[in-house]
Amino acid sequence: MNWRVRLTRWDLILLAITAVGVVLAVVRYAGGIGSVANINNAYPWGWWVGFGIMTMIALGGVGFTITLLVEILGRHRYHVLLRPAVLMGLLCYASAIVMLMVELGRPWKVWMILVSWAPSAALYEVGWCAFLYLNVLVLEFAQVPLEELGWGRALKVLRVIYIPIMLLGVTLSHLHQSSLGTLLTLIPHKINALWWSDQLPLIFLFSAMMAGPALAILEHLVAARWLGFPPNMDMLAGLARIEAWLVGLLLVFRIGDLVVRGAVDAALSGTSFAASFWVEIGFGLLLPLVLLMMPEVRESRAGLATACSLVVAGVLLHRLNVAVFGLRVRHWETYVPSLGEIGISLGIAAGAAFVFGVLVRILPIHEELPPTSSAPESRAAAPAAAAWHGARGVS
């Protein structure tokens, strides 16, 4: 394991942003939420929930989506995306939990969820599933550093339990991604007709699944440029085709849901809600779909980067629209995220990005694996775990 990492200026920028976030977080803890945030009684959930928690968990879906693709559906063509995806998932969920510690009014009591029994509360299910899933992600990813450290016995244990916990992780992800949507089905009278739906759980789940491959493609392209290896454009083109299907299906689902609920007139009205809706659909679904359907886009780095960034931005905008912007409140009530809120959330994201950047340089996360599926001595282990074997073939 190469511990020596030279910090680039990107690292320093990320650290600086993280530092700002830490300072603001200290202010939050010293002075209460009201001292840094604009959330109020009309908007109890704001930027922190919309971006810092809901979007982070949606983007963390890259972990279970790529795992589903590679390990469960057996598309080993994409195995090189698996480690980065799981690491990104781990960091996204960790970021969401850190954000939660800032966002909660009493974060020191968060363990109460684990000792309560509240099956009627969507947040209860989200809390438990996210907690368990974070553990799963840690156990899945731990194979990489353990392999580097050469701790063979611990590694063997992890490999034995890999299949069951991998299945557990993917299943849990389906549950809590959809439960975040279930949470918001409780307030049909409060969310604008453009975003409330009785199918919100499915919309949340499908949009998280759509965000997964997009984020994986983006990461591969960025890492290729930053770490200096040639991106596997063939593989990315294949994944982009799958992504096109996912975007198209979600688009049909969203529009169909709008039509079935009779909310089309809301989309055609001249309100700011309608404008935000069309920006979300247009830039987050329509434009990426058009781009990803074109082979020349799928084979071009810039094209893929653009299309996938738009998909990710669309998911962010959707979460913000549903949880914050689309709320109906009385006419004198307003909310605009404060700089403190944005600063803390960006600090957390920057911190996660910094950790990611360091880990990809000291651990073999992007190494290309040998073309054959497994070395003979690992035949005893399930071939599904072959994707995790490093190039050094430690057994």
């Binding site: 909660l104 509240a118 009627s120 947040l123 299943t171 089905t185 409780l186 009278h189």
Partner: protein, 271 residues
């Protein structure tokens, strides 16, 4: 003092008798030890003060100028926790900090609160409020004076109302009384009891001389309990879990067999 009956309680808020004196607001603050506020007059609709419920004001009289004849007249309304039969707040709370008691009140156990504010999002009447400036913040809302009614007293607001606009008793009696008032004075009341079956029934029944949306009430709510909306998704969680785990497990095994069969085929070809 007679032994209090154990039947669920309810309150009638008769807005035709309300004179807007706000004694109920004072009594409530007094009983719940809420501090005085520095407010800004005319910050919201008319003479209503404070503008909305908040961490220090658990009930509020809304001031509304309604034109019923030739001239506008005052019609007052009251905002307070409705203590629903099927509270959305209690169903949304992940730590069961809000619970519905047998006597009617939805009570808040602050030792369990983690400050997630899901109850604030869930409540269709927009009741729970938060004290964001506090370093140890918690949810604030009307308690129905649960501690008072347990000993047979009436809630503070019902006790001080000078015009008997607030009545308190067993819910069955209160429903019957509300219906009786409408039936015997149809010109005075509109034929609607706010809270009778809204969101599945509440413990506070409001009567009015004008439509409720004109005096600051939230209307258009379904007659079915709000928690039903999430319940139909959450109750299939265990089945969903088992089904997905089985399906994914089966898929993994099928794919494993396929790839190992392909491997052994390769091995045969190379040997």
């Amino acid at each position: 003092m007679t032994t209090p009956s154990a039947k669920p309680k309810a309150m009638i808020q008769d807005n035709t008798r309300c004179i807007g004196c706000r004694a109920c607001m004072i009594a409530c603050k007094s009983w719940n030890n809420r501090p005085a506020d520095h407010t800004e007059f005319f910050a919201g609709p008319g003479y209503q003060n404070p503008v909305d419920l908040d961490a220090n004001n658990y009930t509020l009289i809304t001031f509304n100028e309604i034109v019923t004849g030739a001239q506008p007249d005052w019609v007052f309304g009251r905002q307070l926790c409705m203590h629903c039969a099927h509270p959305a707040c209690a169903s949304a709370c992940p730590t069961t900090a809000l619970t519905k008691t047998a006597l009617g009140p939805v009570v808040f156990n602050e030792s369990r609160c983690i400050g997630c504010r899901a109850c604030m999002q869930a409540c269709p009447f927009l009741i729970p409020k938060y004290d964001y400036e506090n370093l140890n913040p918690k949810i604030h809302k009307c308690t129905f004076c649960a501690d008072r009614i347990e000993t047979g007293l009436k809630p503070a607001c019902a006790t001080v109302c000078p015009t008997a606009a607030i009545s308190f008793g067993d819910r069955d009696d209160m429903v019957a009384e509300a219906k009786r008032r409408i039936a015997t004075a149809p010109g005075t009341y509109i034929p609607e009891i706010y809270g009778l079956d809204d969101v599945g029934g509440t413990s506070v029944l409001h009567l009015s001389s004008v439509p409720f949306e004109q005096i600051g009430y939230i209307t258009g709510l379904p007659k079915t309990p709000m928690p039903d909306l999430t319940h139909r998704w959450l109750r299939v969680t265990p089945h969903f879990f088992a089904l997905l785990y089985a399906v994914f497990g089966a898929l993994t095994w099928i794919m494993h067999r396929r790839s190992s069969r392909a491997e052994s085929k390769d091995k045969d070809h190379t040997t």
